[in-house]
């Protein structure tokens, strides 16, 4: 049975080489070859793991949903309806009192600068893989496609 002292003896034999004669050789082809192979193997395995991690990281990143601030223009449809009802009623009363149709006012063109727009910042989630987002304005339903708005009335 091999005991500890035997192992120590074998190691000393290997280390000392040739019964105590120092090893003067600089190159040990087998040892260097094995070290080289081990290094390359470790490098390949490490590199593969690194490449997989990088690939996984960027794959997840590319699928990520970005959150951006979106400018939302609110349109108070109920308020507009109420205003229209009120002023149409006023017009009706005016016309019944005067017996003539509403005075003056040739229609002037509505330019973009005439529109009163209140910008409200809201945070909305936008998935870059989706081309069109969900429409939150009920007034906007049923319209498809993008075209330049005709502001002239």
């Amino acid at each position: 049975m091999i005991e500890t002292k035997d192992i120590v003896k074998m190691v000393k034999h290997i280390v000392r080489h040739d019964n105590g004669v120092p090893d003067t050789r600089i190159m040990h082809p087998m040892r260097e070859w094995l070290i080289g192979l081990s290094g390359v193997t470790v490098g390949i395995i490490g590199g593969s793991i690194f490449a997989l991690l990088v690939y996984h990281s960027y794959s997840l990143s590319a699928r990520d949903v970005m959150t951006v601030a979106e400018t939302v223009v609110p349109y108070k449809a109920v308020l507009v309806e109420q205003a229209l009802d009120t002023y149409l009623e006023k017009r009706r009363v005016y016309e019944s009192l005067t017996g003539v149709s509403t005075p003056v006012l040739p229609q002037t063109e509505l330019s973009p600068s005439n529109t009163s727009i209140i910008d409200v910042m809201a945070t909305t989630s936008v998935d870059t893989s989706v081309s069109e987002g969900e429409d939150s304005l009920s007034e906007n339903e049923g319209n498809e496609g993008v075209s330049t708005p005709d502001l002239a009335i």
Binding site: M27, Y58, M66, E70, V80, T108, V146
Partner: protein, 176 residues
């Protein structure tokens, strides 16, 4: 170390350096492309958000075109002030009201504390007529189908047989 060993060592060193350089360059390129990916992703998201906002705006403008056109009719323009005044005077004459225009001025719009007040047309009348005519005329002023307010009204007269006199101030919002 003989000459052959030196050559092998040198070649091995050169190979190692070259491949180490390529490896470092590869890692750097991946990192740079990764940063570019993040930037591009942000740009795409912002662009998509803008596109959605634009589409919504276009839809909103299209769907509200009619309502906005109708609303526009309830705002007077600066060019229409004289014809408006003529209409009121004509209506007063039809109701047997003696009407005198005391003031006709355009008050420019102001912006204070991010609140914009549009320009307005300030008109001041004094009038006289029978009770029925005056009341009808006041009702007519109340019913002017434009965005308007009546800051002040005064009336003098008590009996139905007397001549009633009064004055009124009108303030019409001018379409900016």
């Amino acid at each position: 170390m003989n000459k052959r060993s030196k050559t092998i060592l040198m070649v091995a060193t050169i190979y190692s350096l070259v491949f180490a350089g390529l490896l470092v360059n590869g890692v750097y390129l991946i990192s740079a492309e990764g940063a570019k990916l993040e930037t591009t992703k942000t740009q795409i998201s912002e662009h998509a958000a803008k596109e959605i906002a634009y589409t919504r705006m276009v839809d909103l403008l299209e769907s509200t075109k009619e309502d906005r056109a109708t609303l526009q009719q309830f705002f007077i323009t600066e060019n229409d002030t004289i014809s408006f005044l003529a209409t009121i005077e004509d209506a007063a004459k039809k109701n047997s009201i003696e009407l005198k225009t005391n003031e006709l001025a355009v008050i420019p719009g102001t912006t204070k504390d991010s609140i914009t007040t549009p320009p307005a047309l300030a008109i001041s009348f004094s009038f006289a007529g029978s009770e029925v005519s005056v009341k009808k005329f006041l009702r007519l002023l109340e019913s002017i189908p434009y965005h308007t307010e009546i800051p002040k009204v005064t009336l003098a007269g008590s009996g139905s047989g007397e001549e009633w006199t009064g004055s009124a101030q009108l303030r019409l919002t001018i379409k900016p």
